[in-house]
């Protein structure tokens, strides 16, 4: 836990709020901090990073411990605190879905091809269009990647340092959020697939392969995007050959 008092931040973060708080009794303090964290979690539209909590709490507050307490407090309730993409969010308990769902409109289902593509990107990232097609054994139809990019579950990460410099794809925080994953290593069956060598490119089984990237940092064989990438709709006209009609 890294919530040691930080001595020299006073000038930077000194605010009225803090001054009001530090005059309070330590226990009242903690109660108030719990309330602040709870209010933040409720109010937020997006998962909140640890650092974001700290901005609203007196310096030196042990945010981890407050979040742990709150998480426990909410554990058996209709609403739970979950970690997605390393950030914290309140979500209705999983078993509430069936009860609450009838109010919501049914969401659009991904096609089988889109779902497979999404899975391949998630498990193999960073990966290129050609690699996805190699795994699937078939070309990706025009709208599939567009669709995933539009939903916001997939993003362009960079460019592979190979001839043609193909764009590399990866998943987004929104993907993790949607599927309730705290990090990519939480992907179901990832360890088994990894040890079976099935997440490797075309290398023989048994070859040691890297884990999916936990971070958005570019890998050694990736260059940053150069800004010439087109937006989803035109984006993936085959790089190689066909002057395919620009629809």
């Amino acid at each position: 836990m890294n919530a040691q008092p930080m001595m020299n931040q006073d000038e930077e973060t000194g605010e009225d709020v803090q001054e009001a708080v530090v005059t309070m009794h330590p226990m009242a303090d903690r109660g108030q901090n719990l309330r602040i964290v709870e209010a933040m979690l409720f109010a937020a539209a997006e998962p909140i990073a640890m650092d974001a909590f700290k901005e609203f709490l007196p310096e030196g507050t042990n945010v981890e411990s407050i979040l742990a307490d709150l998480t426990e407090n909410y554990a058996n309730r209709g609403v739970n605190i979950v970690q997605v993409a390393g950030k914290f969010a309140l979500r209705t308990a999983a078993d509430m879905g069936a009860i609450l769902r009838r109010e919501k409109t049914e969401q659009k289902r991904l096609t089988k091809a889109a779902l497979e593509t999404l899975a391949i990107i998630a498990y193999h990232q960073p990966t290129t269009r050609a690699e996805i097609e190699d795994v699937r054994g078939v070309a990706i139809s025009k709208g599939t990647l567009d669709n995933l990019l539009e939903i916001g579950w997939v993003k362009m990460r960079g460019r592979r340092k190979t001839p043609g410099r193909p764009v590399t794809y990866g998943t987004t925080e929104s993907f993790l959020d949607h599927f309730g994953l705290n990090e990519l290593t939480d992907l179901p069956g990832l360890q088994e697939l990894k040890s079976a060598g099935l997440l490797d490119g075309n290398l023989p089984p048994g070859f040691d392969i890297p884990m999916p990237r936990l971070s958005d940092d570019l890998t050694a064989d990736e260059d940053p995007l150069d800004g010439t990438e087109q937006m989803p709709l035109e984006m993936h006209l085959p790089e190689d050959s066909a002057p395919e009609a620009n629809s």
């Binding site: 933040m40 409720f42 109010a43 937020a44 539209a45 979950v82 969010a89 309140l90 979500r91 209705t92 308990a93 999983a94 509430m96 879905g97 069936a98 609450l100 769902r101 919501k104 969401q107 991904l110 089988k112 091809a113 779902l115 497979e116 999404l118 899975a119 391949i120 998630a122 498990y123 190699d134 795994v135 699937r136 054994g137 078939v138 959020d177 949607h178 599927f179 309730g180 994953l181 992907l187 179901p188 069956g189 697939l193 079976a196 060598g197 099935l198 075309n202 023989p204 089984p205």
Partner: protein, 278 residues
Amino acid sequence: MADNENTGAPTNAWPDDMPKQAAAMLSDELIVDVDGFEGPLDLLLELARAHKIDLAQISILALANQYLDFIDRAKVMRIDVAADYLVMAAWLAYLKSRLLIPAPPNSDEVAPQDMAARLAFRLQRLAAMRQSAEELIKRPQLSHDVFARGAPQPLVVDVQREYGDNLIDLLKAYADRRQRKVVRQTYTVKRQTTWSIKEAREAIERLVGAMDEWGAFDMWLERYLATAETRRSVRASSFTASLELARDGRIELRQDEAFTPLYVRRRNSALEKQEDHL
């Protein structure tokens, strides 16, 4: 098929009589549904599944036979088979022959077992990804199984503008503007010192009233040439005005030769003198 013993392929989980039975069983449902497959790899995987083949111990030879059989049947039934399915068929036929016929010594071609292993790997990998996709979609999903705050209250951010202008900026702005205004005014005054033709004419008329004798034009004007800046303007306007006055018969002009001084005198006095002579 008795081929299996010759291949040296991994343990064959596919009994000899299985392919024919399965093919017969599948012919209707699979062949008519050829469009339903997402490529040859998908078809291969489907065939393997239909025959309950353990992908970890797959016999590529047996699977190749299945596939080739499938394509043959599709042809017989006059079903259009897409080119890539036929390419795969050709490749599998080649692989099959390589698996059955021992390679010549010192061949540098890829060992058929490696080709088979590679295909098996791809099938396994595709199957694994399909399995993963299923497990992924089975997870509780946001807005379907799990819900976020319905009415989020985004954190309010009060934007406070902070102006960086200081007293010096203020004073400088004031002083600059006042000074510029002064410069403008001075400039305007100077412009008033330039002569219009009308002004020049009035002045010449006034002066010439006292000039009965020829006088140098420039001398007349000198009194008005207060500054260097106005000299040209005064000279030009006066010259034009004096030409006008001469035309009107109010004055006389005389110049002995080009570029010599211009002389001017009152016309009336000239007339009077002539009259006096007469």
